[in-house]
Symmetry: C2
Subunit: 346 residues, 2 copies
DNA sequence: CTGTTAGCGCTTTCAG
DNA sequence: CTGAAAGCGCTAACAG
């Protein structure tokens, strides 16, 4: 797949002979005829500097091509203007609206989100946390609840704002923004039961939150039923396989809950490929309300969760704390709702 | 959608009374009974330190809970161990394998990828570049070719490795890993023509690279035909709309190329919802070979591009340069291939 | 193999 | 409103 270019280029190695020295604040100050500290203030705290000086410094910046060194600034001021974000893997569609909202909200205040991947096995969590801390973020956002006691204590000792998200706890490390996966599971079960369906199935990823939804589902049903579990992250292909497995376990299934919309889409395709009509023969409900869910044939009933709101709120909590403002709510429960579409319409 | 928790929590504000002071290398050195620089070497260059000393330092680290401060280290050593990555938006499925591969490959060498979003309008490119530079990355990876001359010169002056990716140029800013979008477009057209199809259509996003593919397509056909253009990023919903538009322009279309697989999926669904059979009445080809493409009904013919390889190669180029190794190829052309599946099978 | 010296580039005091 | 002094935490460079 990878073909090397045949252009006859010779090995090269930059930087060239003259490693170009970037201008520092000192250079700017000299250009502007002021002291370095005045130049610093003109740029980061213009309120306390005379307009004339600001103008001179601005010009000096333009002439020298000065770009501030945030590493140096952060070292002294103890504010790196970065926020660490821990996600299972960056490629999970589920969290992408959250990542976007985090990035955008933080960016608007000058903060940079630094993403790290924990993987679905929580083994890397502590190690990754250390890597992140070594960059001295001003805040940390974690997907899910921090499980290891060591990590919880370490986070608490840090003394920086921490937000756990996409789940709920009455004892967060610091703050939490999310919803109850148990409630989601039982809500879906309740919805199926209210429709009169009794032969139910679950196709689910094996991560902690998806498993909690599954538990909530069967708890509400009152007994366990056919369940297909696949390793996270679940995708369309896995959805097809999981549905095949469920239909083996019970060929007369009436309704299936899937732990993601991609997963549900695969499940529907598998059912259709076997001649089953959805929803005629089999109803399917997904989770996440992905952007495509409303536009499939049949359109997909799913659980809507406002991932972007989670990201926005998490970012705002961090920002407020960093600005020294007390936050009104340490625990924010965002709602969810079942969006009924064709895939479960009788 | 957002409901606040009703738990009666009172506003809180961390950090608590005693802002816990993190241990520094000095503390470790004192604990271990060595000088700070020896402690430093024991941790980052163990080869030159005696085993006994290393052991003592290790213990001191464990006892103090020391976590290195990379900002301080980077300030002195001029190596921040970060690489800036510029993407249009983090949520484009197209680039996610690349982002993953970048993250993982860099991470394996201790580098942290710092993502920034340029947006599809290139207006933010220069501003974002400055933001990134202010964090003094050791390398920069850009999606697409850097268009603005000012930005190109700035990048060149920086004297750090720069990789442009997902496109090709004989005059890259520094290095480039990608493929020719013009070739992709004409390859698809050639494929359609070879099948004997003459009533062709194009549904495409409006970003630069998708537009280049479209140009390559019609150039190979020899004349322009029905084209639906939607604002990037294209998704399933837009695919449905674009197909609706194309069918208005020519109800007897025989084959349509879509600029992404999500887009193609939407196009197929729209065609099916109008009673058209794919591929019986209408053939559809996507772009990207997303993970779901092989598992749709009909499975989707598409252009496979190894986005993960692009990410790996880009990361490796940066890593090699940072390690002072000359790279063999400044211009790496990765291949692409049309993967024929049911959606274009006669 | 280990230590001393001297900063990296910036911003926080504290004084004018 | 502006400046001088000091040092954030670490590591290059040079000695020993």
């Amino acid at each position: 797949m990878v073909t090397l270019s045949l252009l006859p280029v010779k090995p090269t190695m930059r930087p060239p002979a003259h490693p170009p020295k970037a201008a520092t604040l000192h250079d700017v100050a000299r250009e502007a005829g002021v002291s370095p500290i005045t130049a610093s203030r003109a740029l980061s705290n213009p309120g306390v500097v005379s307009d004339a000086t600001i103008e001179r410094v601005r010009e000096a910046v333009a002439r020298t091509g000065y770009i501030p060194n945030l590493l140096a600034g952060g070292l002294k001021s103890k504010r790196s203007m970065t926020v660490a974000g821990l996600v299972p893997v960056v490629s999970v569609p589920q969290f992408i609206p959250t990542i976007r909202a985090l990035t955008d909200t933080l960016d608007a205040q000058g903060y940079q989100l630094i993403l790290g991947q924990t993987g679905y096995a929580n083994s890397r969590e502590e190690k990754l946390l250390n890597t992140m801390i070594s960059r001295r973020p001003d805040g940390i956002v974690v997907t899910g609840l921090v499980s290891s006691q060591a990590a919880r204590e370490q986070l608490q000792r840090l003394g920086i704002p921490v937000v756990e998200m996409w789940d709920l706890s009455v004892h967060p490390v610091d703050m939490v923004v999310g919803f109850s996966h148990l409630k989601v599971g039982s809500a879906i079960a309740g919805y199926f039961l209210a429709k009169g369906w009794r032969r139910l199935g679950v196709a689910t990823g094996d991560d902690l939150r998806a498993s909690t939804r599954r538990d909530g589902f069967w708890a509400a049903v009152g007994h366990e039923g056919p369940t297909a579990v696949v390793p996270a992250p679940s995708n369309l292909e896995m959805g097809r396989r999981a549905m095949a497995e469920l239909l083996r376990k019970d060929p007369k299934l009436e309704a299936v809950y899937c732990s993601s919309d991609e997963f549900a889409q695969g499940a529907i395709i598998e059912a259709q490929s076997r001649g089953l009509r959805v929803p005629g023969d089999l109803a399917v409900c997904g989770f996440g309300d992905a952007d495509f869910a409303a536009h499939l044939l049949p359109s997909l009933t799913t659980v809507q969760v406002d991932g972007a709101a989670i990201g926005r709120l998490a970012a705002q909590l961090i920002i407020d704390r960093c600005a020294g403002r007390a936050v009104a709510q340490r625990i924010i429960e965002v709602g969810f709702q079942i969006v009924e579409r064709q895939s479960t319409a009788p």
